[in-house]
């Protein structure tokens, strides 16, 4: 098989992994080497689905001895299999990189023969890149569940980011859909990578030139909508991962039905894109806005109200804390205002040092007032034409985009508590219009991942 055919197959098999950022590490170029990295990451193209293309995202092989139910590469599926030779992949990467098609490589793989064997082949490809081709660009690798610690160590010294995909948000789901994987096989390498990064930090203090271990940190991915796991479970899991494992990012991947299986959403259900979008918004609130998972959803209301973004949702439930006064409110309080993001909050804090802010002034700063105007005052005044009542606020908050993304938005009559429940079942599990699977029985005592596993 020629490289073009292999590339087509191994790209197609890798496309469901959503992480494609090249961020997290600034590394200047060096004479004698090819490449550099930029902390913010760089997008090189955008695919027809609107997602950023930053890295050459491929699998080492789509052969796999495992049989995870949700996966296109599972062993029981009838599909064409192939594998890159390590040098083939290294050549492709360096040649794409020199033409500025990509920031680097994102390598994942099915399990060929055994986890260790697979990791060794991946390491071989990356060693060719790093040593023979002096490649100094970005590399993100998915560690193979079950691989030996020493291989994870070796890999960690070669790459910028290493991640382990959790995929399923609870142990129960894992047991049902990926019975050959254990929570231990996922959490152990995550713990190992975290420990490696910490140890490396203290090494770097002593020896400035100590080789860096996973300098851009680790990330993971959760599949959304393949299991009945609630948003509460997903967000508390994410929060725990940020805190306990120092993860840089948790990515969410709306499940695209690719497999006909009674345990999974039917082949005819659409990927729950709106839910994925709202989870990313909630994730931002966790990472940059000082929110906790329990402020966004709790055990009583375990799923988000998808009609409206999570920050607006929070604000509507806490109208007593508004309006806030723009000329005095702290940066943290400003961040709680719907429509005011990190950039706007910073600009407000900066601009009010030299003048007193009016709504006109806010507009000049480029603060989008469409939502914010319902929640703030300037010098004690509300914006012209604004009446702060729950119903007016709600109408003001719904963007055209929100309305478009809602499955059965009927404009005026819709209230934000009204979540239509359109079953779209045609085989497989019925899914409601928002991509939530029905929860069976009480999930209260469903088994969650145990944190604090140490190695």
């Amino acid at each position: 098989m020629d490289v073009l055919e292999k590339l087509a197959i191994l790209t197609d098999a890798a496309k469901y992994d959503v992480a494609c950022t090249s961020s997290g590490v600034d590394r200047s170029g060096q004479p004698g080497k090819t490449g550099s990295t930029v902390a913010s990451g760089i997008c090189h193209s955008f695919a027809a689905d609107g997602r950023c293309i930053s890295l050459l995202k491929v699998l080492m092989t789509n052969q796999c001895v495992y049989d995870c139910k949700y996966c296109v590469n599972r062993t029981s599926r009838d599909t064409q299999r192939t594998a890159f030779a390590p040098r083939e992949l290294a050549d492709l990467t360096i040649n794409f990189y020199r033409r500025n098609y990509i920031e680097g490589l994102f390598l994942s793989s099915g399990v060929l023969k055994s986890p260790d064997y697979t990791m060794e082949r991946m390491i071989e490809a990356i060693e060719i890149l790093r040593t023979e081709y002096s490649f100094n660009g970005y590399i993100h690798v998915k560690s193979i569940p079950g691989a030996d610690n020493s291989l994870i160590q070796r890999m960690g010294l070669l790459v910028d980011r290493m991640s382990v995909n959790i995929e399923l948000p609870s142990e129960d789901s894992l047991g049902q859909l990926a019975p050959q994987k254990t929570p231990e096989a996922i959490l152990r390498p995550m713990g190992l990578i975290r420990a490696g990064i910490e140890e490396n930090k203290s090494d770097l203090v002593v020896y400035r030139h100590a080789p860096k271990f996973v300098p851009a940190g680790q990330s993971t991915q959760l599949i959304i909508g393949a299991t009945p796991d609630s948003d509460h479970r997903i967000l508390t899991l994410s929060e725990g991962l940020y805190k306990k494992y120092n993860l840089k990012r948790v990515f969410f991947s709306a499940y695209t039905p690719i497999v006909d299986d009674p345990m999974l959403p039917s082949l005819f259900s659409a990927p729950p894109l709106l839910r994925e979008h709202r989870l990313y918004q909630a994730d931002w609130l966790l990472r940059f806005y000082g929110f906790t998972a329990n402020e966004i959803v709790d055990a009583k209301n375990p799923n988000m109200n998808l009609a409206i973004d999570p920050k607006c949702n929070w604000a509507l439930r806490h109208l007593d804390q508004f309006p806030i006064e723009v000329s005095r409110a702290s940066y943290e309080r400003l961040l709680r205002v719907p429509g005011i993001g990190v950039l706007s909050a910073r600009k407000i804090v900066q601009a009010r040092r030299t003048c007193s802010l009016t709504f006109e002034g806010l507009r000049k700063l480029g603060v989008v007032l469409k939502r914010a105007r319902f929640f703030v005052t300037c010098q004690g005044k509300v914006d012209e034409g604004v009446i702060i009542r729950p119903d007016t606020v709600l109408r003001g908050l719904l963007s055209k985009n929100d309305l478009r993304m809602l499955p059965a938005a009927s404009g005026d009559q819709m209230t934000f508590l009204d979540v239509p429940d359109m079953a779209r079942s045609l085989g497989g599990m019925p899914v409601n219009a928002y991509g939530y699977l029905p929860e069976k029985g009480t999930r209260e005592n469903a088994k969650q991942y145990e944190f604090g596993i140490h190695i």
Binding site: Y16, P31, H44, R98, T256, T354
Partner: protein, 251 residues
């Protein structure tokens, strides 16, 4: 200071030339209403009083240094970047910014609601965004070992791109040609040169190069998930004006 309502300064189009306009305005105690280059000047308007300002490196240096001393070090970078933007009449905005800076000092950078400061900040942000976009969207085609790229940016992004790609490919030989401003950056392992260039003709590409174009197109197409098809989102992130020079969209 005399505010002369029809005084126009003409300069040579360099940053130093612009700084000399600032210098002269202080020496002559007069405030121009416009500062522009010879090419932009065209026919002088009725009642317009034009003054040609000669570029003097020493005067330019004095003003440049005073920006750091009287305003802030960031203001120097800001002025250099503002000069690269495509903001219409950027010179007069920059001139007013420097005057305000002498008056208010460092805090001029915080006056985000002021029209002059606001316009410049917006223009600089736009420049940075465009330059960041091009760091990703530039496509090199390799001709006999030389990497060549053509772009049509709105702002003068070449100095920024030059730093980025020189750092990234120190040992390569590459050329980026900016059609809009008829400029090019040429990098060789021995050094980098920013130069005027009015025309660039290229030989046909060889088979090895064609093969990489095909591989890249295949990857770019295959990585999209059909169920998530969203061309509007694609276009928002990567407006059509960039496509013409990108390998993945060539026919």
């Amino acid at each position: 200071m005399q505010n002369n309502t029809n005084l126009v300064y003409i300069y040579d189009g360099t940053l130093e030339g612009f700084l000399c306009c600032v210098y002269e305005s202080y020496v002559r105690h007069e405030i121009p209403v416009q500062i522009r280059t010879e090419e932009d000047a065209g026919q002088p308007l009725l009642l317009e009083e034009t003054e040609w300002i000669r570029t003097d490196m020493e005067h330019a240096g004095k003003i440049y240094e005073s920006i750091d001393r009287k305003i802030a070090l960031e203001a120097q970078d800001f002025i250099r970047e503002a000069f690269l933007t495509c903001l219409p009449d950027k010179e007069i905005f920059m001139y007013r910014f420097i005057r305000m800076g002498y008056q208010y000092g460092r805090s001029v950078m915080d006056r985000l609601t002021d029209d002059t400061v606001g316009a410049l900040i917006k223009a600089v942000r736009n420049l940075r965004r465009e330059s960041h976009n091009f760091m990703g969207f530039v496509r090199f085609t390799i001709y006999d070992g030389v990497m060549v790229s053509c772009i049509s940016p709105k702002n003068r992004v070449l100095p920024l791109l030059s730093d980025h790609f020189t750092n990234r490919y120190p040992d390569e030989t590459f050329l980026i040609y900016d059609r809009t401003h008829q400029m090019a950056v040429v990098h060789k392992p021995e050094g980098t040169l920013l130069t005027a260039m009015h025309h660039l003709s290229l030989p046909p590409i060889d088979d090895a190069e064609k093969a990489y174009h095909t591989l890249w197109k295949c990857f770019q197409k295959t990585i999209a998930i059909e169920e998530r098809h969203n061309p509007k989102c694609q276009m928002n992130h990567m407006p059509k004006r960039f496509w013409a020079d990108m390998t993945e969209f060539e026919s």
